[in-house]
């Protein structure tokens, strides 16, 4: 009896010990994972001649916050940030507007060919952006849009991802709500704006944030369609040019990189519990 009890308590102790070790290992792993970011941040505050040292240091002889100011002096980062915010905000508005309108049609309107059209919508998802860039550039030439804001915003604003996500959410809004409003004589636009959109705020927020981040980090298309980086360039283009011109000034490069990450990190923290739902929206998979 007593023996069994000590055995049980010993087993519990072993299990507890295992849990502590497992957790400690996980924390070490998380630190290793974060190490590049931590080291980059540390570098962004170092004097230039202390970037490459063995053994590596976290804090240099002084904390040079001026690096951030200096990075802005070396390249027109204010301009890049302005352009990025402009493109990302307008682009997000277009995506949310177009997807919510079509999602409402697919979720709550009856019209011939609805299912077929929806399958066709989803079918467009299989075409990779990388296949479209060549003809898209030609289309921009034809439209006279090369080196313009609309070229940064519109071509990839119409994707079936948003429509799909919002339709799934709209379907969870009770049909009786829509129907009783119609019986009361409310028009479809009224129902869309007064009932559907307010009830779908969480889904709209998730779509908006992920779309914003998609625009914010986009590299390939802006690289192609923008010639004058200093006038129309977004942050990724600015960083890319900075690498080419100041590729050895690691303290400044890291300062610029840290600033470019701020909006994304803020959104991750804001999104928190909604991250999972947003996963499907803008195709960030395994990038």
């Amino acid at each position: 009896m007593a023996e069994a009890r000590t055995l049980a308590s010993r087993r519990r102790l072993a299990a507890g010990l295992r849990a502590v070790i497992s957790h400690a290992l996980l924390v070490v792993l998380a630190l290793l994972f974060a190490a590049p970011l931590i080291f980059a941040f540390a570098t962004s505050l170092k004097p230039p001649d202390e970037v490459f040292t063995a053994p590596p240091t976290l804090v240099g002889s002084e904390l040079r916050f001026e690096n951030y100011v200096e990075a802005f002096r070396f390249a027109p980062f204010a301009r890049y940030f302005f352009n990025s915010f402009l493109v990302a905000i307008i682009g997000t508005a277009v995506v949310v507007a177009a997807s919510s309108l079509s999602a409402f049609a697919f979720a709550r309107l009856r019209f011939p060919g609805r299912e077929l059209l929806f399958v066709l919508f989803l079918g467009t998802l299989i075409v990779p952006q990388e296949v479209l860039i060549v003809p898209m550039y030609w289309l921009m030439q034809v439209l006279g849009w090369v080196d313009s804001y609309q070229a940064l915003i519109l071509p990839f604003a119409f994707t079936a991802f948003g429509t799909f996500l919002l339709r799934q959410f709209f379907l969870t809004v009770p049909a009786e709500l829509v129907d009783s409003a119609r019986v009361d004589g409310a028009g479809l636009f009224n129902i869309f704006f007064r009932i559907m959109l307010p009830l779908s705020r969480p889904a709209l927020a998730v779509l908006a944030m992920f779309t914003f981040i998609g625009y914010w980090g986009s590299l390939l298309w802006p690289l192609i369609v923008i010639d004058n980086v200093n006038a129309k360039g977004t942050v990724p283009l600015g960083l890319n040019q900075f690498i080419a011109q100041q590729g050895t000034q690691y303290h400044l490069m890291m300062a610029a990189a840290m600033l470019a990450m701020v909006p994304s990190v803020l959104l991750v923290v804001l999104l928190q519990k909604n991250l999972t739902r947003g996963l499907l929206t803008t195709g960030f998979g395994g990038r």
Binding site: H23, L26, P36, F39, A40, F52, A54, P55, P56, A97, S99, L101, S102, A105, L109, R110, F111, R114, E115, L117, T124, P128, E130, V131, L132, I133, V134, P135, M136, W138, F156, A157, F158, A160, A175, E176, V178, R182, F192, I213, W216, G217, L219, L220, V235, P236, L239, N240, M253, A256, A257, A260, L267, V268, T276, G283, F284, G285, G286, R287
Partner: protein, 311 residues
């Protein structure tokens, strides 16, 4: 998380008679308005360019100047081009290294960071950060890692006493360096997908298995894993497709070098189209990528019946 694409919406409740008819007419009229922007956008910016990509691939199509119809000439040139063959092999090498690594790391960590772990949300946020930060910024951070004198080198000098190899400058390590950076950057996505799926596994089933004497490892292999195969299927398909499209990491870290050792399909499209201004050839290479992506999608959907348990 189970992903089922259900294309039929339940029909809205409709009261009988005249109401019904006027409402259907109303629906039909409004459908076009509601669908208008998306339909127009998708037609102009997705369907039309897809067809145009095929058309352009049949032409000698310089960015400026005269275009001439060449039939399948561009495709023949691609097949005969040793650089293109290497580019396809490089891309496959990236995929073969990246996809299994990504899935194993994200699945392993998702199982490890179980609901019992303290600070779980913190781990989730941390692992997800590089998924959403701009690739260019991530790549800059990793240049600082790989750079001679950078973090890896200085750690190596301190610990081993000798400098680390110049990872990005040697053709034997450059691709591996790109893969490692890509896994670091990308696994947070699948980690979250798997975490969400593991949360859905019914506790009673795990407890029942535990009472029957199954160890933690056995419970994972025989209870959890079969139940989350739909998520694994979803993750592998998506990761495969996106990894064939890899561009930013090699573009930013190595520019496809040294030599052509890390040049990938999309990098080839970019170089042909915007450095050498051969739009026709670039479009043909793009279509090769498209066919690969369609092929994977088809194979995965045919194969899923064999090993996916949909609950």
């Amino acid at each position: 998380m189970s992903i089922s694409i259900d294309t039929t919406a339940p029909a809205p409740e409709v009261s009988p008679g005249a109401h019904r008819r006027t409402r259907l007419r109303d629906d039909r009229r409004h459908a076009l308005i509601f669908l208008g922007p998306s339909l127009l956008g998708l037609a102009l910016f997705t369907l039309f360019p897809t067809v145009m990509a095929l058309v352009m691939s049949l032409f000698n199509w310089p960015v400026f100047g005269d275009r001439t119809f060449r039939g399948l000439d561009n495709y023949a040139r691609l097949v005969g081009d040793p650089i293109f063959r290497q580019v396809v092999l490089n891309t496959c090498l990236f995929v073969v290294l990246y996809v299994p690594l990504n899935v194993v790391v994200s699945l392993g960590l998702a199982a490890w960071v179980s609901p019992k772990i303290k600070g779980r949300q913190g781990f989730r946020i941390l692992f997800f950060i590089p998924v959403l930060t701009p690739v260019v910024a991530n790549a800059m951070v990793w240049r600082l890692m790989y750079q001679p004198g950078g973090l890896l080198d200085s750690v190596s000098q301190t610990v081993v006493g000798s400098p680390a190899p110049s990872f990005l400058a040697s053709s034997s390590t450059a691709m591996l360096a790109i893969v490692v950076m890509s896994v670091w950057q990308g696994f947070g996505y699948n980690f979250l997908v798997f975490s969400a799926a593991i949360d859905q596994v019914p506790l009673e089933q795990l407890e029942a298995a535990a009472i029957d004497g199954a160890s933690g490892r056995q419970r994972f292999w025989h209870v959890t894993l079969p139940l989350i195969t739909p998520s694994i299927f979803f993750a592998i398909t998506l990761t495969l497709i996106t990894s064939f499209q890899v561009f930013a990491q090699p573009f930013l870290l190595t520019k496809g070098g040294p030599g052509n050792a890390t040049q990938t399909l999309v990098l080839f499209v970019y170089n042909e189209g915007w450095r050498f201004l051969h739009m026709g050839l670039a479009a043909a290479a793009g279509w090769v990528l498209f066919v690969i992506v369609m092929g994977i999608t088809a194979i995965q959907f045919l194969g899923q019946k064999r090993w996916v348990h949909y609950g």
